[in-house]
Subunit: 337 residues, 4 copies
Amino acid sequence: MVVKVAINGFGTIGKRVADAVTAQDDMDVVGVTKTRPTIEADLAIDAGYPFYTAIADRKQAFVDAGIEVQGTLDDLLQEADIVIDGSPGKFGQENKDKYAAAGVKGIFQGGEKHDLTGVSFNSLANYSESFGKDMVRVVSCNTTGLCRTLYPVYKEYGIETVYAVMIRRSADPRDSKKGPINAIEPVLKVPSHHGPDVQTCIHDLNIQTMAVKVPTTIMHLHSNIVELKQEVPSEDIVKLWENTPRVKLVDGGKGIASTAQIMEYARDLGRPRSDLNEIAVWREGIHTVGKVLYYYQAIHQESDVVPENIDAIRAMMELEEDNMKSIEKTNNALGIN
Amino acid sequence: MVVKVAINGFGTIGKRVADAVTAQDDMDVVGVTKTRPTIEADLAIDAGYPFYTAIADRKQAFVDAGIEVQGTLDDLLQEADIVIDGSPGKFGQENKDKYAAAGVKGIFQGGEKHDLTGVSFNSLANYSESFGKDMVRVVSCNTTGLCRTLYPVYKEYGIETVYAVMIRRSADPRDSKKGPINAIEPVLKVPSHHGPDVQTCIHDLNIQTMAVKVPTTIMHLHSNIVELKQEVPSEDIVKLWENTPRVKLVDGGKGIASTAQIMEYARDLGRPRSDLNEIAVWREGIHTVGKVLYYYQAIHQESDVVPENIDAIRAMMELEEDNMKSIEKTNNALGIN
Amino acid sequence: MVVKVAINGFGTIGKRVADAVTAQDDMDVVGVTKTRPTIEADLAIDAGYPFYTAIADRKQAFVDAGIEVQGTLDDLLQEADIVIDGSPGKFGQENKDKYAAAGVKGIFQGGEKHDLTGVSFNSLANYSESFGKDMVRVVSCNTTGLCRTLYPVYKEYGIETVYAVMIRRSADPRDSKKGPINAIEPVLKVPSHHGPDVQTCIHDLNIQTMAVKVPTTIMHLHSNIVELKQEVPSEDIVKLWENTPRVKLVDGGKGIASTAQIMEYARDLGRPRSDLNEIAVWREGIHTVGKVLYYYQAIHQESDVVPENIDAIRAMMELEEDNMKSIEKTNNALGIN
Amino acid sequence: MVVKVAINGFGTIGKRVADAVTAQDDMDVVGVTKTRPTIEADLAIDAGYPFYTAIADRKQAFVDAGIEVQGTLDDLLQEADIVIDGSPGKFGQENKDKYAAAGVKGIFQGGEKHDLTGVSFNSLANYSESFGKDMVRVVSCNTTGLCRTLYPVYKEYGIETVYAVMIRRSADPRDSKKGPINAIEPVLKVPSHHGPDVQTCIHDLNIQTMAVKVPTTIMHLHSNIVELKQEVPSEDIVKLWENTPRVKLVDGGKGIASTAQIMEYARDLGRPRSDLNEIAVWREGIHTVGKVLYYYQAIHQESDVVPENIDAIRAMMELEEDNMKSIEKTNNALGIN
């Protein structure tokens, strides 16, 4: 069985998931949508994706721009088994109703709330909870990053409390409207919503978070403090993460001093769009003092959830029961070792 | 008695302390030094500060630039009771020897290590330890900020552990050489040196710190997590800090959302050089959950230690035994309410 | 006669003009307005400005925030001879009608179009055109900067063509919403509107402009190329501008390498809000090759038009016929030498 | 004949040229050098490039880092016909002497001066001047960009004068040390050196340039004013550049408003390292007024000279006499249409 996947919203996440689906042998893209005839619409056409208009009455705008439109979102849903919702926030409920009405499963992104689907997804932490489900939310880039590094520590050693401070990029590289240009802006609601969001995947983890925005576009960075249930040597944590999928240790000593050099590394690796699907953790920054673990991790906000979307398709469509097998299959197809 | 103060290094800190000394009635600037005939040398002359060359054999460069030089640093030391060392890092030991040889007391800045003087200084936390001392180090802007908010909490309620994550500006506004322009850079030595530095002023405080650099020039921001010895309502912490000198609560609800608006506020207050000597704490961000206190504070790295330098002079010169009286006197002279 | 000035909009321009009016002996602020109870409203109250609500039905919001409101904009207009319109763009026509209906003169800012008033204003270039007028527009910060340096050259030597490339800051320091964070954005309408805008003050100057936005908050920079009607040595241009009011030559050789050091210089000069009302021109960058003059100038976008607003009041209220006398009076009161 | 190419300095330019050489069928990489065992050394090994140490006595540092070293630069030169000098500036003369002594041809980059080789290279403008030569300099990214768009205009319509204002990125993405973070910095030497540099390729073009640095990492942008010898409709210039190799017109109307969206476009095109070898020119920004042409172009500083290096190899090794044939061959191999 090859699952037929629709991409509703060929934007930052949508375009990446489309290409990632295409790279798998058990699923295929049957069409993508867009609301406006921008350069990305041209690129979707060039990539050979059947193109549909997300908003029915805007078809003419695409035709005027010389873009061949196969139909509307409703038409596309007729062709699909499952849809990746890559639309901007706030349209979740409306879209979910549409997908349900068309008898199509739906995967939402972290901009939507957990309550929309009642099931949130991280490949490592709670894959099985989405098995066979109709509507699932893949958690945000930040939450995905926290789950990837915390879950193995939680399973292996036990965690009393996590304090995570998230230093967030303010805008994506392609988004040149948003600032700040020269300021740091805290999220004044304390603790922030990210802690409870992690708990949608790792249910009984005690985690508190704070967050600030800083004037950079390329990656988030988390400064994490973990009170463990036992003393663990730093080296054991290093080894644990060396063997954790989608976690990549990087070395300050090799010249990777900042998020800039991590992104350069991804470019040199030849990754599509110079993305880094893995969570980068600085090896030298992993340090335990007594029962407390300190570490820094960097999150490529545009792409870390892409493999999670693929795994979620596999779980929801019941293609694979074992999360580790799905992870490995996805990773191999995407060149993540 | 009017204490005669020399300023060795009329740079970021030196020029501010010079003006702050001038604003007091119990001390006076007898001269300032500089190593190069930049615009700041002109400004020192315009301000009426007797001008000396920090490096003896560079006198001619100043003369060539039309700057009248009274002599060298050695000459200046003959005129002074105490010297503010505003020279860049690494010259501490050499300068301390010079000051001692000239029989002049010396105040060093946070770029130097505690061991240089064996006594570190924060007005609130440990003023009396510097009373009558010859060589004292005023701790760095970040450490000063941590001492100001943590000390009253520590005294009033007791603290089990502080976890502070310091999100640091990468360069001062006037320093246009340093980056990064678009990256976040963690300090990979974990925990960072800032924790032990706080302990030079609050000796038995259990504090662990992490630090990252971000592409902004205007303020540091600390995201702090404090495990208290007891449960304390958020409002009580708010009240405590409302009554703490050199701590200023700011309101997100009044439009102060980021460090940019804090700096704008300082401009509107008419502060010299648009500085903010106080530590700014967001009122809405002060939040306790059980025994854990969360808060954000912003540090104006160029100026928060300026009143501390004044108080340190008073302690070392035995002008005032009571730290709260010195703080009040300094604050009144500087327009800090 | 002391002219009664209302400030409609106590924001970036309004608060500065209010303080500048207060510094003059022939005019006084009778009240200021604001639309929301932000920290700037508190500051207006603290500064002793009678406070009015710009939007009539928002009075309660101010009362709730503890701010004493004297009345509405309409009430304020009853007290005033002339109003400084500091409201954001697009309200010009509506406000002009209000001012006219109340029999009050109005000064608009450069965000409005020339057609709104039919008269645009620059103190040096065309002061007399506003003499006795009811409604006048002070041109934008960029246009003001171009007029200040180009007008004396145009009068003294004649100009064939000006090509000005304006490298604009993207947001003001206090505006932390706008980007870009890491991009350069050209104004694709070529030539840009700035050339015709200069012609509203220097009517037969042949000037063409291009403009880009860059990720900085502190100053605009213009890279100007001027085809003169005759060969002029670089030194003569330097001398001309040394004797031009509100133009300040700065020296790269003294360490002023970028807009950052210019702003630091303004801080050190002790200017209110660390503003620089003058246009800064790099001395070393003034260079003629044959009949072509090249130079760079930096524009402090928040404050360069402030003295122009004062002069415009004087012209419109017929307080002073001679522009050079008004300029000198304004400058003396504001500490601009 | 397959030309044997050595890469001396596997950095920003070196690693890109290495991959571009590998993509051709008439040349091959015989080895690369590096001075330090950074992550890029690992990547060179992973890519299968024979690895040599650039500095003979640092061999042990690589061995310690687990990197297999084939020998020193001197050893590598024995294997090569021609070497790409990707070393940082200031080593040009020393390296040229080494290459000459080893009987190997050398290609230098734009950081070196024209006098080093006496021959500078741009594929479109002066390919034939490098035919058979031993030592050639490929001009800088900015000069390459100017040559690509100006040369066809110069040939087709004639140019009186070019005024180019170059708004330069301050640091490459991977370089997180350099600033400024929030400032604009002009090059005070006026006109700048870029004009004469263009003349090393288009010898009798009258061009004057100014330059500023701005806080961005991704692209330079040129704001160009060209006084033509005749009136030319804007559309004719558009058509000319549509047919010029390595020039790519982009559309603001399709959402490409800034350099950020150009770089995103390159990512979406799937280019290696998300590079854009072409010069991007905004279609809407191309505008003629009388005999004056205005346009904006964006330069990807890390990669635009890469195809030029390939063509230079072909010219110097006498593989191809016709520049348009080499350009086409290079472009096809690199996926530049």
